[in-house]
């Protein structure tokens, strides 16, 4: 771990915030000059654990991560998926004790931003405070949508909904386009996120392939019938509040 400042990589955070809010030049520069510590992590490594009291917020510069809770007998519930530009535990800035864990799903590069620095940043730039607040509110909207899927969507609709959400999130930060996006997670990860089993996920993927809705090439998901996936999952992108909406 080594302290680095003015990392060009913080551009990922700017890109993320600009996908949901408008930033001024001064705000962009303030983010660029944040002192951060950068760490390369292995896949499936805990970053912050349930019960911890973190002193830093974790920004993903590269790779995928998730929030999760563990129950007895190794039962894991993944609460959310995160990609480059996402700050994983913005909540810890104001809610000191973690009520869930955060782990990498793939190899990842994480920037640790000290709470103190973020407090100063948000105090001197209220526009950024509002953008971070907006980010946590959208986070909550995503949780609401996942709750609807968990309770009321079939496994087929649920997987379709997740794919639409992941694609739009990745597209909004420039990591996906042309209805194709990276999907570097396993069927078990998807099952643990959707409250299903790998057996169910495999069946759904087979059916989606059979109906030519998607193809999976290596770790690339291609949405062959985007409109149909939106329709079957009753996907309404409003909850993602993307500034540069491009749902088509």
């Amino acid at each position: 771990m080594h302290p680095v400042s003015a990392q060009p990589t913080l551009g990922m955070l700017i890109r993320k915030l600009e996908s949901i809010a408008t930033l001024s030049n001064a705000e962009r520069q303030a983010i660029q000059s944040l002192p951060v510590r950068i760490q390369n992590l292995r896949a499936r490594q805990d970053i912050v654990r349930d019960g911890d009291q973190p002193t830093h917020c974790c920004l993903i510069l590269d790779g995928w991560a998730c929030r999760y809770k563990m129950l007895s007998e190794g039962k894991r519930q993944i609460l959310s998926f995160h990609v480059s530009g996402d700050v994983l535990n913005l909540q810890s800035l104001h809610v000191p004790t973690m009520d869930h864990s955060i782990a990498t799903l793939t190899k990842a590069v994480i920037a640790f931003i000290p709470h103190e620095t973020l407090r100063e940043l948000t105090a001197s730039h209220p526009g950024l405070a509002a953008a971070f607040w907006r980010d946590t509110l959208i986070d909550a909207a995503v949780f609401r949508e996942w709750l609807v899927s968990m309770g009321r969507r079939t496994s087929f609709e649920h997987v379709a909904h997740l794919f639409c959400e992941l694609y739009l999130k990745l597209q909004s930060v420039g990591l996906a386009g042309d209805h194709r996006c990276p999907l570097p997670i396993t069927q078990t990860d998807i099952a643990d996120a959707l409250g299903l089993t790998p057996v169910h996920i495999n069946r759904v993927l087979q059916e989606m392939r059979g109906r030519t809705l998607i193809t999976l090439r290596g770790r690339m998901l291609v949405m062959e019938a985007w409109d149909e996936l939106l329709r079957v999952s009753e996907f309404d992108p409003t909850y993602l509040q993307l500034e540069k909406r491009a749902a088509g």
Partner: protein, 81 residues
């Protein structure tokens, strides 16, 4: 408690169709389905397609063989005793 298996074809909407109804003392307790070749590393294993009462599970397990599946079902039902 006595378990009795009855072969059945199950409409799972997938290639996994060969299964067994599992009766415990005459009551339907579970439906097991053998996973098809489309499941790669899980192919040939037995999946708890449905479990009733004490055998129901939010995370239905997969078993290496029918004996293991029956042991698990018996353990679940033993909690009622």
């Amino acid at each position: 408690m006595t378990l009795r298996l009855q072969p059945v074809q199950v409409g799972t909407g997938s290639y996994d169709v060969e299964g067994h109804l599992v009766f415990a003392d005459g009551f339907l307790a579970a439906v097991l389905v053998q996973l098809s070749g489309f499941h790669e590393d899980l192919a040939g294993m037995w999946f708890l397609e449905a479990g009733f009462g004490l055998v129901s599970s939010a995370t239905p397990p997969t078993f290496a063989d029918l004996d293991t599946a029956q042991d698990w079902i018996e353990q679940r039902l033993a909690h009622a005793a």
